[in-house]
């Protein structure tokens, strides 16, 4: 498949090069359609969110209430302004795909944003980018300025009568702000605490107004759908989760990087054909398929598994952000899971007790395993803590912290057992000595 999100065209990030390859033509096309027709096309394409949850994008757009026209009293319509937040917070360990879009194809993202705004009747969009990406924020800002200058953003876009603005917003270092309701709080100048749902953002989002939050890569797919037509797009890759996808491969591979491919690629093909195989020709011990929150897979269980929502679900994991981390046979998985857990401990916002306290407890217990000071019962204690975080928090960070631990114990229990303190008599001795 020819790359659609990251085409191999020199200087494609420049607006004149983008235009000379048909760039912004899909915005013109969309503006010639009715807004609900645009949403319908996206719905029929079966595009699913690329931020991790795989929610159908077109369906999400239909949740937005229609704007109430002056004098109208139609129920279910709104007089409030509506907002689009494009989520470029990209902080999930193992994920570095949105950065590639910012750098190599920012105009696809801008064009998609303008089309999404038109489809939902939105006149203000915010692109939230993690604070560390300041270099890429400057690059995208340049592209946004150029788009304004050419009339693709702002007042009366390409003479259509439709107007919308796109503003960049810089985060300041908080993983949790990638959670959609925390992102909105951050945009409101608050601490990035997730909100209780319901109400859902489409009813009550930014400043209490109807809001849709879409991932950067999701929005970048929108002009592609309009260009190919939904019938063609829906046939790319996995039928239930179609389209091009940016897969980031990191860890012990010869050629780590971002690879664009149709969904549904074999994990083994991604590792051996795209990423050049495992460094030093070693065997694979484990693979995290979609960012650190997704459940870890055994290296001997990835044969036949595909990179799409259904394929990875069947294998007992998830596609997440498609940030794949490959670990060779010599990897210390206890060290890996301890580091991952330290991350969630650090990033827990502290609102919900199970997550705030539980991530710390898990980290403490895992430290005992890392130092080979754990007791056999610590394995089940760890699992118990993880099980009591999962499903008991406002947002998915708690689940994201629990899943890696649960899956690691389930699939690599022997690794934990090997780190249990050898002789119980040492423990008894310590206890006696303590008295």
């Amino acid at each position: 498949m020819e790359p659609l999100i990251l085409p191999k065209i020199t200087d494609y990030h420049k607006i004149d090069v983008y235009e000379s390859h048909g760039g912004y033509e899909m915005l013109r096309k969309a503006l010639g359609m009715k807004p609900e027709e645009v949403t319908d096309v996206v719905k029929k394409s079966n595009l699913r969110g690329r931020g991790g949850a795989c929610f159908p994008t077109g369906l999400k757009w239909t949740f937005m209430p229609k704007s109430r026209e002056a004098g109208s009293r139609t129920a279910g319509q709104t007089e409030k302004p509506k907002y689009l937040c494009v989520n470029g917070d990209e902080s999930e360990p193992g994920t570095f795909k949105d950065r590639a879009i910012f750098e190599f194809n920012p105009h696809l993202l801008i064009e998609g944003t303008a089309i999404a705004c038109y489809a939902m009747g939105i006149t203000t969009a915010y692109l939230y980018v993690r604070g560390e990406y300041i270099r890429w924020i400057r690059m995208v800002q340049k592209a946004v300025d150029d788009a304004y200058a050419k009339g693709y953003l702002g007042e009366n876009i390409v003479g259509s009568g439709f107007s919308t603005n796109l503003y960049l917003y810089r985060g300041a270092g908080a993983y949790i702000c990638g959670e959609e309701s925390a992102l909105m709080n951050s945009l409101e100048g608050e601490r990035g605490y997730p909100r209780v749902k319901p109400p859902f953002p489409a009813q009550n989002g930014l400043w209490g107004c109807p809001t849709t939050i879409n991932n950067v890569e999701t929005i970048a797919n929108v002009p592609i759908i309009l260009r190919l037509g939904w019938e063609t797009y829906a046939k790319i890759g996995a039928p239930k989760h179609p389209g091009p996808i940016l897969v980031g491969v990191s860890g012990h591979v010869n050629k780590p990087g971002i690879y664009e491919m149709p969904t549904g690629a074999l994990l083994t093909d991604i590792i051996y054909k795209y990423a050049g195989g495992v460094s030093g020709n070693k065997k694979i011990k484990a693979v995290i398929p979609g960012g650190s929150s997704t459940m870890i897979l055994r290296g001997d269980a990835i044969e036949g598994v595909t990179m799409d929502a259904e394929g990875l679900k069947a294998a007992g994991s998830a596609v997440g952000t498609a940030g794949m981390i490959v670990m060779d046979e010599d990897t210390d998985l206890i060290k890996v899971i301890t580091r991952i857990t330290k991350f969630y401990y650090h990033e827990s916002c502290g609102q919900c007790t199970p997550c705030r306290e539980g991530t710390g407890w898990m980290f403490k217990i895992l430290k005992r395993f890392e130092n080979s000071e754990a007791r056999m019962e610590d394995i089940d204690l760890l699992l118990d803590v993880a099980n009591n975080i999962e499903g008991n928090t406002i947002c998915a960070l708690g689940d994201a912290a629990a899943w890696p631990v649960q899956s690691m114990i389930q699939r690599f229990r022997d690794e934990f057992e090997r780190r249990v303190i050898k002789s119980s008599s040492i423990l008894v001795g310590t206890t006696v000595a303590a008295h």
Partner: protein
């Protein structure tokens, strides 16, 4: 105090949002760029500027890790030690920096030139290991590359 240019920027930014409180993060960024870190005075100043209580600004500063609530060295070096970098020996980069700077993670050199920190995933997993110094990313590191990057700093 903030420069006139920053104050003007803040006035422009206010127009983008329903409420001026949204400008807090941007205003704090501007303060940090001008002063290097965000003191109590800075928080009170930003609070006054935007008409929000100082404790609210403090709450924001303490929540986001990129805001320095203590002075840092001229060059803030942050080495990613999260999983993808860890698998590609970020520990060796941290140790090397500790050795050549003679400080531990979390410390600043006595001449206030360098502060060394560990960072969570910075989105450079394909070019691991990596570090961020100020605004710049330095990727695909080894010890020799770290030496030449440090030698090139002002």
């Amino acid at each position: 105090m903030l420069s006139d240019k920053s104050l003007q920027r803040i006035e422009e930014l206010k127009k983008r949002y329903q409420r001026t409180q949204s400008v807090i993060l941007e205003a704090l960024w501007l303060w940090q760029e001008e002063h290097g870190w965000i003191s109590d005075e800075g928080m009170k100043y930003v609070a006054g500027l935007l008409g929000v209580p100082p404790h609210h600004v403090y709450g924001v500063v303490s929540f986001y890790t990129m805001f320095n609530s203590k002075p840092v060295g001229r060059h803030k070096i942050e080495v990613c030690t999260n999983i993808s970098c860890m698998l590609r020996n970020s520990e060796r980069i941290v140790k090397h920096l500790e050795n050549i700077l003679h400080i531990k993670v979390g410390e600043t050199t006595p001449d206030k030139r360098y502060t060394l920190m560990e960072a969570e995933c910075l989105g450079s997993c394909g070019t691991a290991p990596m570090m961020q110094i100020g605004d710049e990313y330095h990727e695909s590191l080894d010890e020799g590359k770290v030496d030449s990057i440090l030698a090139g700093l002002r």
